[in-house]
Subunit: 150 residues, 2 copies
Amino acid sequence: MNTRFAVATHILAYLAHAQPGQPVSSEVLASSAGTHPVVVRRLMSTLREAGLVQSQRGAGGGTVLARPAAEITLLDVFRAMQASEPDLFQVGSTNPNAHCDLGSVMQETLEGLFGPAIEAMRAALAAVTVQQVMQELGKRLPGGCTEASG
Amino acid sequence: MNTRFAVATHILAYLAHAQPGQPVSSEVLASSAGTHPVVVRRLMSTLREAGLVQSQRGAGGGTVLARPAAEITLLDVFRAMQASEPDLFQVGSTNPNAHCDLGSVMQETLEGLFGPAIEAMRAALAAVTVQQVMQELGKRLPGGCTEASG
DNA sequence: TACATTTGTAACCAAACTTGTTACTAATTC
DNA sequence: GAATTAGTAACAAGTTTGGTTACAAATGTA
């Protein structure tokens, strides 16, 4: 999920700085993120299901944010990416010893102990919005984030 | 890294409850973790380099904890697993657009914004020791964690 | 209507990664 | 010397990932 999370954030930050209501095509986004338009559209499917973006087909179509960038957090992105995937930590061995129940007990125990770690990370992710990402990008790109610059 | 982290924790918890100074063979550990002895030995290589365990070859050989279980945290395990691997979050796209520097800027920005999230998770992992994992296992395995039970 | 554009999605391929396995060497004990 | 056990290389099967092509559906425009 590594690159997907990063690419999704990249895309959302791009959409955040685009003209409001002006759809951005998967081709432009792919060019900016350095990937293939179909990869972007695949990602969009996930983001759309999560209610973070809206797309429109046809000429002049593309994708826009479904709500203000200030109301989309990195946790939303994280959850969207995670929804279609296994847990960040797949606790427990794959083939616990059938000969006793230590395997399943280990699973439960690790889940319980990892829980706070994951919760802490979620809280930190929830504190960052896509708007902040965009603003941070603006600071680091002195000339601003124009269409030509990615 | 999913299963490796879990299996490593499993192994360390097992070693923590073993007789102190009594080496445990990779075969026994593999049987408990439901994997292959060679997989365990591979993992041991990493844990040994991280200074968490010590091994001894030959008849009666095996592996013991290199320091008390109360002084080994899940963060130590996490770091050991991560040392030989890419970051948890590979921030930044794989192929940033060469045509401008948004790619690298995005990379820096995401690293800065994800930083607190990763730090929060690390702090939570550092708060849990292998001894706690072992004790938690003991609570959940009423009969205790005997050699026969995994 | 015809056509160009753009998304949605399936299908496929190649590369990378993971896990299990075999095989062999080195070290250690008896 | 024999048995045991770690260390490690090498390989195979399975899974995952990312990129790509192909094509249908939708939408705007002439």
